[in-house]
């Protein structure tokens, strides 16, 4: 999967939880789920569960710790898929 494919998939996953549509339109690797997209912290777990379902992986507590931005989510998913 290319970087762009991964970002596109993540974009679909986070869409339902986004509170700031302007930031969502310009979503990039540097976008932060909470400070940019204003996603509620209780919805971060929904994103984690959706990522698990989409990529058929399981994320541990330690994986979740840094799951606060697009870049970290990409790194964790890539590591799991290659692991």
């Amino acid at each position: 999967m290319t970087k762009d494919d991964l970002i596109a998939k993540l974009k679909i996953i986070v869409a339902p939880y986004v509170q700031d549509e302007a930031a969502f339109k310009t979503l990039s690797e540097d976008t932060d789920f909470v400070s940019d997209l204003k996603i509620n912290s209780a919805n971060l777990v929904d994103i984690i569960l959706d990522i698990e379902d989409e990529f058929d992986i399981r994320l541990e507590n330690e994986d979740m710790e840094q799951m606060l931005d697009v870049k970290s989510a990409m790194a964790i998913v890539t590591a799991k898929l290659n692991g």
Binding site: V34, S41, A42, N43, V45, D46, L49, M64, Q66
Partner: protein
Amino acid sequence: MVGNDIIDIELAKSQSNWTRARYLDKLFTKEEQEYIITATNPSIMVWALWSMKEAAYKLYTQLHPSRFYNPKSFNCKLQQPHQVIYKDFHCYVNTQITSDYVLSEARLDNCDMNSMVIEFHTQASQSHSQILHEKLIDVMSNRSHYDRTPLVLQKDSFGIPKIKYGQEEINISLSHHGRFGTYTFI
């Protein structure tokens, strides 16, 4: 130092489905899941525990500036007085539950809650944080010992807010969700 968190119960119902598969297991320890399953109102227990964890996290990150997402590691203990434990950190948490909201406040000492709640009368949630900031500054400015020098709200690189008053820094905590906002300072 103080951390607080408020949850609009009505909005939480529509924003989060805590009954979805693996949801509870991601956020709550076995002991906390037991509190939820055996509660008279499991939904309220979910949000009470969640707000306790959030309030404790906000207090923890004031002591140890950082940013991370590990709610399950903040263990809620519901024996009186309520406490949250994370690694070697522990704090006391007061929780207030009404028919509209759940509010938790975390402190290092066991003392009464002093978070104030405001209800928003506008829809746009972006403006809610602004209204909350202005209300906090307003209330603090009206305290006689905060005269002349302006109070300025600042956030550090981790997003932790503080009030600057001249050379002095005052620890605060702010939270808003749906129709409600809360602020506190010491």
